[in-house]
């Protein structure tokens, strides 16, 4: 048995760190915790936990089946806790879902039109490519937590004052 124990926290067992201020303000560090954010989130609410100009990292509570989504650029997700399956469809007309200059995740209305690409099942620590031109939806039997690398879009929720140390 290893002498080391690697600690990955989870939705049901997390311990948030802290800031010791010497000469600054806590809010300058936008300090949050993805498990805490997900614990208070609606399923598939895309809550920004990091923002750098147009780019964001969103914390997502995966629970049940999501609606279909897509983007005009690559996105990526990493499962931080739980078990999430992603279903993909290659869109016949991706520009009708998201114009080429559209930023962030967009909802796909109704069933996506295109060929089934397959599925990826992710567990803790697994990362998947959400390729541009594909519609995708998530499915998770139990509450799980993901982070998503994308651009700020119509579905991005910002509530910094609620999630960050002030």
């Amino acid at each position: 048995m290893s002498e080391f124990v690697t600690r990955f926290d989870s939705l049901n067992d997390y311990e948030k760190g802290h800031i010791e201020i010497i000469n600054d303000k806590p809010k300058h560090y936008c300090f949050s915790n993805v498990f805490e954010v997900a614990s208070g989130a609606k399923p598939y609410e895309k809550i920004a936990v990091a923002k750098n100009f147009e780019y964001v990292i969103e914390a997502i509570r995966a629970e049940g089946k999501s609606s279909w989504m897509a983007a005009a650029h690559d996105e990526f997700c990493v499962v931080m806790d739980g078990d999430v399956t992603i279903e993909f469809v290659k869109l016949d007309h991706p520009e009708s879902v998201a114009a080429s200059d559209k930023e962030g995740t967009v909802p796909v209305s109704g069933e996506p039109q295109g060929k089934r690409m397959g599925t990826i099942r992710l567990k803790r620590g697994h990362q998947a490519l959400l390729p541009k031109g594909a519609a995708y939806r998530f499915d998770s039997a139990k509450p799980s937590v993901m982070i998503q690398q994308t651009l700020q879009g119509d579905l991005t929720v910002q509530k910094w004052a609620e999630i960050c140390y002030r």
Binding site: S2, E15, I19, E20, I22, Y55, H126, L129
Partner: protein, 330 residues
């Protein structure tokens, strides 16, 4: 008045002495001594432990001088001007600078890179790996010159175009290509995503175990890109002991602590004055503002996701104070 010598011997304890512009670099059994000219025609000297200096210099080589300022310690460092590089002694230490003891000199990057690679090649002894944690590499950094470790100092940030493992992109890590699981991550699951691609889409669906990939990192404090979303780069890294530099930001960067914990000392970038200490645990997310310098302490090897915006234009926007140094107002 007593003062550091103008010239050092060509070799000390078997190690060559180097010069870069007005700076001199010499090392002995335990220490590196740097000198630079100051007011009154004198020279200012500065001493850094040899292992700490070599760990910091290794990052400058591997990262191509990185983003912003690489402080080797509170006195000496480098600043990336992207095409040129600034070496400074005392410039970002208000006591040295306000007393006329600082020196700044700008060099062309390729020439400078060549020289610091020569320093590393000469000063890194056999058995010392400047990328490794102290418990892995021991005290081989010290003593009179004995051998070299050219293989260890020839590692760089892994360039990834989209995501590791995709056709034509950077490779995944495994036993078969020289990346065994690190001793501190022996308990990290090595399972992989279950990918069920329909015929014709085998190369379009892609996933991998990021945590397993990181458990096989053979370096510490050396971010490598694992996903590219335009200029948004996920640059995770594994961290143990002390970040060998105090990184002065020239833009906002973000940290997502993926496992275990890191304590960060935060100082003002321009003066070095302490501003905060930030303890990040697994799942925590924090911004590092554009006007701070930070140094991390990781008591157990941990996984940290460093998130960078690679757009070069934003550096000028922060420098010109067009933007607040903080990423979000609330």
């Amino acid at each position: 008045m007593n003062a550091p010598p103008e010239k050092f011997p060509a070799t000390i304890a078997g190690y060559k002495t180097f010069e870069l512009g007005a700076f001199t670099f010499s090392r002995d059994e335990y220490f590196v001594t740097i000198t630079w000219p100051v007011q009154g025609g004198r020279r200012q000297s500065h001493t850094i432990s040899a292992d700490a200096f070599l760990r910091a210099l290794m990052r400058d080589v591997a990262w191509g001088f990185f983003y912003g300022v690489v402080n080797f310690d509170p006195v000496f460092g480098t600043r990336n001007l992207y095409g040129k590089v600034e070496f400074f002694g005392g410039r970002l230490n208000e006591h040295y600078h306000n007393n006329g003891l600082s020196c700044v000199e700008v060099f062309d990057t390729p020439v400078t890179m060549k020289l610091i690679k020569e320093i590393l090649a000469d000063w890194v002894n056999e058995g010392f790996d400047p990328f490794a944690a102290p418990m892995e590499t021991g005290d081989a950094a010290f003593g009179v010159k004995h051998g070299d470790n050219l293989k260890a100092i020839d590692r760089y940030r892994v360039p990834t175009k989209r995501m590791p493992g995709l056709e034509g992109d950077s490779p995944l890590r495994g036993d078969d290509n020289g990346y065994p699981i690190n001793r501190a991550f022996a308990d990290v699951a090595q399972d992989q995503p279950e990918i069920h691609a329909e015929p014709g889409f085998e190369k379009e669906l892609h996933g991998f175990n990021l945590f397993a990939y990181l458990s096989r990192s053979d370096v510490t404090w050396n971010p490598s890109v694992t996903s590219v979303c335009k200029n948004s780069l996920f640059c995770p890294t594994t961290e143990e002991y002390i970040l060998p530099i105090i990184h002065g930001n020239d833009r906002v960067e973000w940290f997502v602590q993926l496992s275990d914990e890191i304590m960060w000392n935060i100082n003002d970038k321009d003066t070095g004055r302490p501003r905060a200490r930030v303890l990040m645990k697994a799942g925590d997310v924090a911004a590092m503002p554009a006007d701070i310098a930070h140094q991390g302490f990781s008591k157990k090897r941990s996984m940290l996701l460093v998130w960078e915006n690679a757009n070069p234009e934003i550096v000028k926007m922060y420098e010109s104070k067009q933007l607040p140094p903080y990423p979000v107002e609330f």
